[in-house]
Amino acid sequence: MKKLATVIVLILVGISLAGAQDIKIGGIGPVTGEAATFGISTKNGMLMAVEEWNAKGGLFNDRKIKLIFEDDKGDPAEGATVYTKLIQQDGVAAIIGTVMSKVTLAGAPICQANGIPMITPTSTNEKVTLVGDYIYRACFIDPFQGTVGATFAYKDLKAKKAAAIFDIGNDYTKGLAENFKATFEKLAGKASIVAYEGHPSGATDFKAQLTKVIAAKPDVLYIPDYYNDVGLIAKQARELGYKGPMVGGDGWDSPELVKIGGSAVENGFFTNHYSPADSRPIVQDFVKKYKAKYNAEPDALAALAYDAAYIMFDAIKRAKSTKGADIRAALAKTSIDVVSGKITFDANRNPIKSAVIIAIKDGKQAYKTTVNP
């Protein structure tokens, strides 16, 4: 019995000695459940980043990354469990995750309380990073898209007068519209928003508002709705004689948009986190490697997970430490070029980064340009 105990102790010591070189990093994503495709892309992106960093020799002092990936199933309760498990049982130095805002909001307070730095690739809810100073994110928050949309409309489309139509029952579209209005007025002057109209959620007829909008003769129409409403609004706007460009947010990102809107959504543009057609070498390189490894086109989730991992690894490398406080301090000073743009962080730990503009052309999405805030 004594011998057995000695053996076990020796094995344990052996494991801990061998493992001392590796730095444990937690990864979380919903690989099963309602958002399974999001989770799989996220895991793929993270694994690819880990592989690349380990091939380059690890984080610092030849210490490699050991990624421990957990499934949160898209469920906040499950999420809280795996966050706790990674921190208490595995003793990870930092966590990259997770995808859905509701789950991230369950995990972020746990990271904050334990002093473990965390970065979410894709949770856009504004409250996430307000949990505390250990919580970062790689994606921009929703209202930011309104700012980018306005900049694009003014600088690239040369619009002097703009109109917006949005869903009054939905914070996402309302937030985008408000930010669009504020930014456009700043750029083009006080009276440049010629119409600002809401519609109730679930409406199918927008002609009353659109007639008013079109009578105001805007150069550009901002429609930050989801694709199924955008299709109807675009069709009715064209029917009423509107010929100019339309701009929206990432709610447009669906193949259904063109099916519902048909030719009406041509001359439409929307803001998004990333485009695989972006011609920057870093993007093309990422797309090529991802395709070779997973035999699939990387979506925005894969790109943002890859970026989130890069941001975290870069911070640990600069901190030359696995202590939470050191990594956090390094994260705050981040300035890095990644797939979804050049990233620095603001005071609320949200990234200041560029967004891509995607055009609808001949019924297909085409990369248009990258806009800096």
């Binding site: 007639t211 109807l232 029917e239 259904e256």
Partner: protein, 303 residues
């Protein structure tokens, strides 16, 4: 103000009102005859839209696309499906409760409505998500100077007008219409006069359902996105229109529907942030002044 009260907005309001009118007619006919608020009526509209959608693709696959023939197939399918489902609902849900307390049929109507919505979203070939509706007839834009209208606007208003005139003639001058009016006044007396009351009620559901089906087709064409819950909101609006006009009255339903359509359009144009609220405020005022609705008759029992 020019962009709020102008010809274009009147056309917009009439188009919305036409679709409401077709649905409101079914509500009012059924209420007039069996004193039942058929809350499933909005779902007959949804089924009409899906039937037209299915017929369009079937017909297109087998016979190829002549838009006139396709439109006719879609129209026939929507009317048959809308009328058929109304008949089934009447036969299996409402008829057994005909002489039971009113509340039982009312609750059953809500049940039928939910059943149809959830059943259809569970069917694999329909499913819960949005479906893009095809352009059955090529869209043509007509610029009149004071207003831009498409042939869809004309079709919506014209189809609604033709059906409404047809219904009025049917109710006023045909034997069936006479029987319907008799049943609505006094079921027992009608029965004593040799009228098959259940048959007349069946016809009423059939016609009301077929009208809702056509409304579904028109809505699908005009707002090309259909889903199993699409009937809830127009159904509610049309019900309100029927009450506004005086439930049980056929001209009242049409009047109420156009008032709703125009009020909603003008209110949304005036201030889109509280638009819908204004439309409903009008309803409340009208009902305060005339509790039976604009063209409604005084009746002793209301729901």
């Amino acid at each position: 103000m020019g962009s709020i009260f102008n010809a274009q907005q009147i056309v917009n309001g009439l188009q919305v009102g036409s679709i409401y009118a077709l649905i409101a007619l079914g509500y009012t006919m059924v209420y007039g005859i069996v004193r039942l608020i058929n809350f499933a009526h909005g779902d007959f509209y949804m089924i009409g839209a899906y039937a037209a959608y299915g017929a369009f693709f079937l017909f297109n696959a087998f016979f190829g696309g002549k838009s006139g023939a396709l439109a006719f197939a879609a129209l026939a399918a929507s009317m048959i499906a809308g009328g058929g489902i109304a008949l089934l609902a009447n036969r299996f849900a409402y008829k057994p409760l005909r002489y039971k307390p009113k509340l039982s049929s009312l609750i059953t109507a809500i049940g039928v409505s939910m059943f149809l919505e959830y059943f259809f979203s569970a069917l694999p070939m329909i499913g819960p998500s949005y479906r893009p509706f095809p352009d059955i007839i090529p869209k043509v834009q007509i610029d009149l100077g004071i207003a831009t209208i498409s042939n869809y606007v004309i079709i919506d208003i014209a189809v609604a007008a033709v059906l409404m005139v047809g219904l009025t003639i049917l109710v006023r001058y045909s034997a069936l219409g006479k029987a319907m009016r008799a049943v609505s006044q006094d079921k027992d007396a009608a029965r004593l006069m040799g009228i098959d009351v259940e048959k007349v009620i069946g016809y009423t559901f059939l016609i009301g359902g077929a009208f809702a089906g056509v409304a579904g087709l028109l809505a699908g064409m005009t707002y090309p996105r259909i889903f199993p819950y699409m009937g809830i909101q127009p159904g509610l609006k049309a019900f309100i229109a029927a009450v506004l006009g005086g439930i049980g009255s056929i001209p009242g339903a049409v009047l109420g529907a156009y008032i709703m359509g125009l009020a909603e359009t003008f209110a949304s144009a005036y201030n889109s942030l509280i638009g819908e609220g204004i439309a409903f405020a009008i309803l409340i005022v009208v009902l305060l002044v005339r509790p039976t609705g604009l063209l409604g008759e005084k009746t002793a029992d209301k729901i």
